[in-house]
């Protein structure tokens, strides 16, 4: 019995099983595992692609979205504090996008009723770039941009 099992392992049965699992889509190293994570949206490189992945139309420019406590110049691109506030009624979601990062979308926040439309976080920026705050309110999308200058990039390491 034991010897048999060892034979199977030796002849590479384990490898075959792994390959099969991979082929069947059970094992996808590095792929999205968390439920509810929109992989398509995080893979995009342009605003148009992102909007398509989110299932929205081109966003309207809005002056009701403001960057609070967000620097003009970030010394360290690895840690850029960004706070986005929306004064648009029925704000449902806020997303932060960095134009010149390898993938634009940095983070997306869904706000249930009762949560204030203001979110603070920290993102990485590879270089000086426009940062977009995308707001979904009442099913429509709005956007505001701010340029943040980066002295030291946060992506190349």
């Amino acid at each position: 019995m034991n010897a048999n099992r060892r034979d199977v392992l030796k002849t590479g049965g384990g490898v075959t099983l792994l390959t099969l699992l991979a082929a069947a889509g059970w094992l996808q190293p590095g792929d999205a595992l968390a439920a509810g994570w929109n992989k398509a949206a995080f893979d995009t490189r342009t605003m148009d692609e992102t909007m398509k992945a989110l299932g929205g139309s081109a966003p309207a420019q809005s002056k009701d979205i403001t960057f609070v406590a967000t620097p003009e110049i970030a010394e360290n691109g690895a840690v850029v504090p960004i706070t986005v506030s929306s004064a648009i009624a029925k704000t449902e979601a806020i997303a932060i996008l960095v134009e010149k990062n390898p993938n634009m979308l940095a983070a997306m926040f869904e706000l249930p009723a009762g949560t204030e439309p203001s979110i603070g976080t920290r993102v990485k920026m590879s270089q000086t770039s426009n940062v977009y705050a995308l707001v979904k309110a009442d099913g429509r999308y709005y956007v505001a941009a701010k340029e943040i200058k980066v002295t030291l990039g946060g992506c190349g390491g």
Binding site: P29, G30, D31, A32, L33, A34, A35, G36, W37, N38, A41, F42, A78, V79, V80, P81, T83, V98, N101, P102, N103, L105, A106, A107, M108, F109, E110, L111, P112, G114, T115, E116, S118, I119, G120, T121, R122, V123, K124, M125, G154, C155, G156, G157
Partner: protein, 103 residues
């Protein structure tokens, strides 16, 4: 495995202000190690915040969120002694849930 999330929740007027600091590498998958090999991406993908069991924020993060992600948000209501819970899941399937009491 992962270290605890630091959560601070304070009543501010008629809402509760929550500040969260999660402990995570947030590796982008873009960096290379000394041998020139790409360091695989490793980052938090989803974060859920609940107040007494009701979801008050759900976030999706990409690798562009900084190492040891920080989050600040406010929700209406909340009283001293209420529970605020933060859970996250990363792209390797690791999870962590931490709880704090509103002060």
């Amino acid at each position: 495995m992962a270290e605890p999330t630091k959560i601070r929740a304070n009543v501010a007027g008629d809402s509760t202000e929550v500040k969260v600091l999660m402990n995570h590498e947030m590796e982008t998958g873009q960096r290379k190690d000394a041998q020139g090999k790409t360091i695989p991406a490793w980052f938090i993908q989803t974060v859920t915040a609940t107040h007494n069991g009701k979801t008050v924020l759900s976030a999706q993060c990409g690798p562009a969120v900084s190492k040891n992600p920080f989050l600040a948000f406010k929700f209406k209501g909340g009283a001293k002694g209420d529970k605020v819970q933060i859970s996250w899941v990363d792209n390797k399937g690791d999870k962590r849930t931490d709880e704090a009491t509103v002060a």
